[in-house]
């Protein structure tokens, strides 16, 4: 028996495979396809202080080996989450993390505080990197000062595991990672989507109502891997790696680059069973390579 369990500080995962926020609904959408208890954790939809309608249609465009989205954090707000959704999903035998988004610091703080009270939510992922909200979700993630500020404020009220999700749309992601580490983040997850754009040459119009949107999928994998590797060499807190993971091989690459756990996003749309398959695939890889403990893979890249 190989050991697949990993720890993000105090947070134990039965295996390193989690889902990426915004691509896995509230988990319920996948109950027909997989057994959620086989996953290390699930990240539910981006949740904000207040109800948000999101952006107008069209919100999606396919791109080479990837997709752009401009959902814009459509959600019913944190109160609805606590009263309606939480009771429905809290029994899941896996770690349920809430992705907390906002446009002003008070919103982040209030949302985090409310979720702090939910017994079966052991952690939040602070989304300071969403490119699809005008008012500034991403702006927080693109400067050290503002990233530090929001993490510091949330840290005051949030007492459990605080994961911070970083934006790749920056010159030096290690600076941001160090800034949030210094303010008490327990882990960082990266990457969120790259800001991109698509045009229909025939109609001469943008394919998204918002003109620009967030790029995800295998197209971004090389950038994501590089950033995980850079951040691994810059901070001490654990890293959750994501961006274009489609199979177990990809997941292992992220772990070799320094990720303690991974998240699967866009791949869920193409194969709703992919997360379970990745858990099995990682186990197979370990057996084939005679690795007893998955923790031996973390950051095990052999650089000449």
């Amino acid at each position: 028996m190989v050991n697949l369990g990993v720890k993000l500080k105090d947070l134990s995962l039965k295996n390193p495979v989690m889902t990426a926020s915004g691509t896995f609904g509230f988990g319920e959408e996948f109950e027909d396809f997989i057994d959620l208890s086989n996953l290390g954790g699930i990240l539910v939809k981006g949740t904000t202080r207040h109800h948000r309608e999101g952006n107008p249609y069209p919100r999606m465009a396919e791109t080479p080996s990837g997709m752009l989205n401009a959902v814009g954090l459509q959600n019913k707000g944190v109160e609805n989450f606590c009263s309606e959704i939480y009771p429905r999903i809290k029994h899941y035998d896996t770690n349920i993390l809430v992705n907390v988004s906002g446009s002003v610091i008070e919103d982040y703080v209030e949302t985090a505080a409310m979720i702090n009270d939910l017994e079966h939510i052991p952690a939040i992922e602070l989304n300071i990197s969403c490119p699809n909200v005008k008012e500034g979700g991403m702006a927080f993630g693109t400067s050290c000062a503002s990233a530090a500020e929001v993490v510091k404020a949330v840290r005051q009220v949030y007492k459990k595991h605080l994961m911070v999700k970083l934006s790749p749309n920056v010159t030096d992601i290690t600076e941001i990672a160090k800034a949030v580490e210094a303010e008490g983040a327990d882990s960082v997850s990266l990457i969120n989507t790259l800001l991109g754009m698509a045009i229909d040459a025939e109609t001469r119009k943008p394919l998204l109502s918002t003109v620009t949107g967030g790029l995800s999928g295998p197209a971004v994998k090389p950038v994501a891997l590089r950033m995980v590797w850079q951040v691994f060499n810059a901070v001490k807190i654990p890293i959750v790696g994501l961006g274009g993971i489609m199979n177990a091989k990809d997941a292992i690459e992220f772990m070799l680059a320094g990720a303690t756990a991974v998240q699967i996003g866009t791949a869920n749309f193409i194969d709703p069973q992919v997360t379970e398959k990745i858990v099995v695939g990682i186990e197979d890889y370990m057996k084939r390579h005679n690795i007893q403990d998955i923790n031996d893979l973390i950051g095990a890249l052999q650089v000449r």
Partner: protein, 254 residues
């Protein structure tokens, strides 16, 4: 209704005309209940440019043969590759997805389809017929060679055609067909290009007949996980893949 992801076996590909074909695919396990108006999301292998699955309406279900039929128009590389599938090939499908058309009882129903929007109407005609409704299917196509599968519709009711060039049936668009003024319908169902559906909706509104439309839009997942596929409704954004694709026109901001 439990959603499944399964490999199907291609039984047959029937070319209907230059760019339309019907693909019959056989499930390896007994098919679940599938309602008219629902769709599947298929995986296209071996295409350098196709990343996401492709949503396709369920054209027909044959429980005896354990098959689903898809009615497909070649648009880009994804549908082109589906048009190259051969007997025995495998097709991975997520299904059954979406809501369904309403099935009234003992009503005089009109089904209006255009382009590959005809796809869901055959299975709907069957269900309406079974529920004791009178069924009239009205198809709008470009010219005679596009007026296909008429016999199949005839099994469940009346079939009428308009062609843009007048080479078959009445000349013009479906909403210009004489039957619309001649007969009084109790229920209208439509699927096809948006301008056509809007014209059908306008007719229904004017005549005060309930009308359901099936919408197409860009989908990433097809089962409610991504929220990419919203339609603006009178009650705010609704998910086309789970709360649609069938909408009553009263709920749309048309």
């Amino acid at each position: 209704m439990k959603k499944l992801v399964q490999d199907f076996e291609v039984l047959q590909r029937k070319e209907l005309n230059d760019d339309h074909f019907v693909l019959d695919v056989k499930a390896l396990e007994p098919l679940p209940e599938i309602r008219p108006g629902q769709f599947v999301n298929v995986l296209v292998k071996d295409s350098n440019t196709t990343f996401l699955r492709r949503p396709l309406s369920i054209h027909f279900v044959d429980y005896e043969r354990n098959t689903i039929s898809l009615y497909i128009k070649k648009i880009g590389d994804g549908t082109k590759k589906l048009g190259e599938l051969k007997e025995g090939d495998t097709l991975n499908i997520v299904y059954p997805l979406g809501n369904q058309y309403s099935i009234p009882n003992n009503a005089n129903t009109l089904l209006v389809g255009g382009g590959c929007g005809v796809a869901p109407l055959l299975y709907l005609a069957k269900h309406l017929n079974q529920a004791g409704n009178k069924v009239t299917t009205l198809l709008g196509v470009r010219s005679e060679k596009d007026a296909v599968e008429l016999d199949a519709y005839k099994e469940y009711g009346n079939i009428l055609v308009t062609t843009e060039d007048g080479s078959f049936g009445e000349k013009g668009y479906p909403t210009q067909h004489s039957i619309l003024e001649k007969e009084k319908f109790d229920y209208v169902f439509t699927c096809g290009p948006e301008p056509m559906m809007k014209a059908v909706a306008a007719y229904s509104t004017q005549k005060n007949i309930p009308c359901e439309v099936s919408l197409e839009n860009t989908m990433a997942c097809g089962f409610g996980a991504c929220l990419c596929c919203v339609t603006e409704t009178t009650e705010g954004n609704k998910c086309t893949c789970t709360e649609g694709p069938v909408f009553n026109i009263n709920d749309l901001k048309w």
